[in-house]
């Protein structure tokens, strides 16, 4: 008789398996990146000891540093563009496209947006909106170009975007000189015409000020709001719309998606357009901060965005965790230079180790999850079968 009981109980108890204890689910999900972080701490501590340093002191320095309000603000400022960049990369990843071109896309977008913003004076909302729009359009076009090369010329998207990164740098070097603000070299250095105050996104200083006083030049970037909107939009688009379903289906199995009515080319092109237009937003924080584009414009946000997307497994919350972790390392690498407790290269070593171990971490978590669920089933079945 047991056989039949078992058959029934499979099903009747199934419901609860997935819904099992949401807290432990969240902990398990965060376990991989945090575990990787801890492991990288240990590994780099060993490296430090080998090099004759004192890891405990270094960690203590990092932590005391990170406990300061202005450092936390600066961490969020750094994490904001990284997050947007991570989302841009993730959109490509979801479609199985490796968009390495976020780098070129955001820089192109930034110089155009800064130029457009500097060329006009408008009521604030319109002015800011125009800058944001310009950034998205140019980023989208640059990403879309790589998409077109891929869908219509068969150029692999990795090659295409790398190539376009190079082209972008060249174009920008030329544009910077061409669009250089007149006679500005003396006062503000080389760069595009400064954007009038009406075009600068207000900061969010009122938030940190709830917790204490900020130093004179510290600001919490207003782009944080845009990043949050991007994150929510990314989640909704991907998980709640038919378009997002199509995109994910295409990424998971292009043949099945095609038979299910998803045109692969159109999807690839749209994904690149979308990824590019989000990439376009990456440079905004810097534009609103400096009020212009100059040759010292922040670089490597695109590449770091890829790392952050990997770290967060393309999940909107995961990417945020990754971006904050990256920003934490960034912010604390500065202090190591000051205190001299460790060379700041140790931070790069840690990043490398984190990226490598997080992959393993996710696999371990997957297995642990599977094992515990299987064990839970077994226990239930044992209960149910007398």
């Amino acid at each position: 008789m047991a056989e039949h009981d078992t058959g029934e109980s499979h099903r009747s108890q199934a419901k609860s398996i997935v819904g099992a204890s949401p807290l432990s689910q969240v902990l398990l999900a965060a376990a991989a990146p945090l575990g990787a972080f801890l492991f990288s701490l240990i590994a780099s501590a060993i490296v430090l000891i080998a090099a004759g340093g004192n890891p405990l002191e270094a960690v203590a320095d990092m932590l005391t540093h990170a406990s300061k309000l202005e450092v936390q603000v600066s961490m969020i400022n750094r994490a904001t563009p990284l997050y947007i960049s991570g989302v841009a990369a993730a959109i490509g990843f979801k479609m199985n496209l490796f968009n390495i071109g976020v780098e070129g896309q955001y820089r192109m977008a930034a110089i155009f947006a800064a130029y457009v913003g500097g060329a006009v004076v408008l009521p604030s909302v319109l002015h800011i909106g125009l800058i944001v729009l310009a950034a998205m359009v140019i980023g989208g076009l640059w990403g879309g170009l790589a998409g077109l090369l891929y869908t219509h010329r068969g150029v692999n998207e990795v090659i295409g975007t790398i190539m376009l990164n190079g082209v972008a740098l060249g174009v920008i070097a030329w544009l910077v000189r061409r669009w250089q603000a007149e006679g500005a070299i003396t006062e503000v250095g080389v760069g595009t015409e400064p954007i009038a105050d009406s075009g600068l996104l207000p900061n969010l200083n009122f938030i940190p000020e709830l917790f204490g006083d900020l130093r004179a030049n510290e600001e919490l970037t207003g782009v944080l709001v845009i990043a949050i909107i991007v994150g929510i939009a990314y989640y909704l688009l991907l998980n709640r719309t038919v378009f997002g379903y199509d995109l994910r289906a295409s990424g998971l199995n292009p043949f099945a998606a095609r038979a299910g009515g998803v045109p692969p080319r159109k999807m690839a092109l749209t994904a690149m357009l979308l990824s590019g237009s989000v990439a376009g937003l990456v440079g905004l924080a810097e534009i609103f901060d400096k009020g212009r584009y100059d040759p010292n414009f922040v670089g490597f946000l695109g590449f770091n965005g890829i790392a952050v997307a990997l770290l967060g497994r393309n999940n909107p919350v995961g990417i945020a965790v990754g971006a904050l972790l990256w920003a934490f390392l960034d912010a604390t690498s500065d202090i190591l230079q000051v205190t001299q407790t460790a060379p700041k290269e140790i931070i790069d070593i840690m990043r490398g180790i984190i990226l490598l171990t997080v992959v393993i971490g996710y696999e371990v978590v997957r297995r642990v999850r599977e094992r515990t669920e299987a064990a839970r089933t077994a226990a239930r079945l044992a209960e149910a079968t007398p």
Binding site: H4, K15, V18, R258, A378
Partner: protein, 529 residues
């Protein structure tokens, strides 16, 4: 006799299911041992454990009397065990030789691959077991039967003495099955031990020396084929008597559901893989398309679905031209599709079942609400499919790859039928589905037919083709070469038509059961003569 394999008390749990529950299995050296059981009974899982792909939670595995613990297939291969999977695992873009040596490349100096030695070894293996393949053929260009031979050779090449074949006959037409069985007997004569899984019980009775039946993860019986009938086997598998399939009566109407004329598809070398095909499917009619795989069926189906560009011809769905429409438009207009390869074209293996249930129907209710994906509706529909089509799963949140092969197939069949298509393109709809569920799927297709669905049925299972179809057309080298009446043809005769050796056969009837109300569009029959 010495035991090649002895499993005792093997248990394997997955989230929500116990796939194997204290299974015992003893396989003698040099025998052909069949494993039977319903979809989801745990057959593939047991074989994967034996092949080192899964670790058992409990129990012991003995190979030639020695207890082993495999941590990967490499260990199993080291012990002389080889496996051909339910879903083939060949690299399409590589040739036969490259596929065979993949992962076991003989090396020459400087780490180069020694292709010469590989080829020699391959030839030797092929000759020893009477299997022949051309090492230079691109796998992409092979027919299923040949692909399977490549899979088997691949395993033998690695020196396997124990062979595991998971549903090897599911994709084969009868003469290919005969060929496979001939190969299996030769392998056995050469001292190999063979374990195989099969849902076609007559085949099992024909080839097996011993049969073990699994039910819900447990061994229920080990029997000799001489001592049981296929009915007995089926009863052991399901623990109840088989449902008798409904007797069918014609529901063919005069209204044309799908009409194809002058359809031609060219391949890359401009050969006519579908050659001026005219075909009509009426509402309430099932038209069987018989043919050896690789004669243009795939391209014809692709052309109807819209994934295959056509050179010329018209395709009309309920009198509306669809040949120039997108796949999505066609599917939304009522073209249902059961692909021949469920994992390649039918599923998102790493997405949950409820997302899989939406595939191909994602723009319409209950899966969509305008531009929004309706998760609630999708889940509800999936639960309905699960209940109605008996998809065995602990939960609809699991990913599709956690389903057994037959249950994946049932999910696809359920997805297409519940969408109530006007025309269903069904390629091997019951591939990998167990006997009981197969009868149920046939009933479901017949019920949909009675409601006016037109069906184009492709199947390697000629009994299915004859039993289900109202009319059968034969495709050979891209042309429709005959129209036959399923009521007056045997599987063997049909097989002869399919291979184009129909000279000595009686003239095929140009008309099916419904000849009278047919305005003979499909007069291309026998235009090869």
């Amino acid at each position: 006799m010495a035991l090649a394999i002895e499993l005792s008390g093997v248990t394997k749990r997955f989230p929500g299911v116990v796939a194997n529950d204290k299974v015992d299995l003893a396989v003698e050296t040099g025998e052909i041992h069949a494993i039977c059981g319903e979809n989801g009974a745990g057959k593939s899982t047991l074989m994967k454990i034996l092949f080192g792909m899964q670790n058992p939670d409990e129990g012991t595995v003995r190979v030639h009397g020695e207890e082993v613990q495999f941590s990967s297939p490499a260990d199993a291969i080291g012990r002389g065990i080889g496996m051909v999977h339910q879903h083939f695992m060949l690299a399409d873009q590589l040739n036969v030789l490259e596929n065979v040596i993949l992962g076991a490349e003989p090396l020459a100096s400087f780490g180069r691959i020694d292709f010469k030695a590989a080829k020699k070894h391959l030839r030797k293996v092929g000759e020893a077991y009477g299997l022949d393949v051309d090492p230079h053929d691109l796998v992409e260009s092979l027919e299923v039967g040949e692909r399977q031979r490549v899979e088997i050779i691949k395993v033998l090449y690695r020196g396997a003495k124990i062979l595991i074949l998971d549903e090897p006959t599911a994709v084969l037409v009868p003469h290919e099955v005969d060929e496979l069985f001939r190969n299996m007997r030769e392998l056995k004569a050469a001292g190999e031990t063979i374990l195989f899984i099969d849902h076609k019980l007559d085949e099992v009775l024909e080839i097996a020396d011993t049969i073990t039946v699994l039910r819900q993860g447990r061994t229920v019986a080990t029997v000799k084929p001489t001592a049981v009938s296929s009915g007995d086997l089926a009863e052991m598998m399901v623990g109840a008597e088989l449902p008798t399939p409904q007797t069918s009566r014609s529901t063919v109407t005069t209204e044309v559901a799908l009409s194809i004329s002058g359809l031609t598809v060219l391949d890359e070398d401009n050969r006519r893989v579908v050659d001026d095909v005219d075909l009509e499917v009426r509402r309430g009619e099932i038209v069987g398309l018989a043919g050896v795989e690789g004669n243009g069926q795939t391209e014809l189906v692709g052309a109807i679905i819209g994934t295959q560009p056509t050179a010329s011809g018209s395709i009309r769905l309920l009198n509306v031209e669809i040949a120039d429409q997108t796949v999505r438009k066609r599917r939304n207009a009522g073209v249902g599709y059961i692909p021949q390869d469920r994992q390649q074209e039918g599923l998102l293996l790493f997405a949950p079942l409820w997302e899989n249930a939406a595939l191909g129907h994602q723009t319409k209710p209950p899966f969509a609400n305008g531009r929004w994906f309706d998760r609630f509706g999708a889940r509800e529909r999936t639960e309905a499919i699960r209940g109605w089509f008996d998809v065995r799963t602990p939960d609809i949140e699991v990913t599709a790859n956690a389903l057994s092969g037959g249950n994946q197939q049932k999910l696809i069949v359920g997805r297409e039928l519940t969408a109530k298509p006007k025309v269903l393109i069904a390629a091997h709809p019951t591939r990998g589905i167990d006997v009981g569920a197969q009868a149920a799927v046939w009933d479901d297709i017949r019920a949909a037919r009675a409601e006016g669905m037109g069906t184009l049925l492709i199947s390697a299972d000629l009994e299915e083709l004859i039993g289900l179809s109202d009319t059968i057309v034969v495709i050979h080298k891209g042309k429709l070469t005959a129209t036959v009446d399923p009521a007056s043809i045997t599987a063997r005769q049909l097989g002869s038509y399919m291979t184009g050796t129909d000279q000595d056969l009686p003239q095929p009837t140009h008309a099916g059961k419904t000849a009278d109300n047919r305005n003979r569009e499909d007069s291309t029959a026998r235009d090869n003569g």
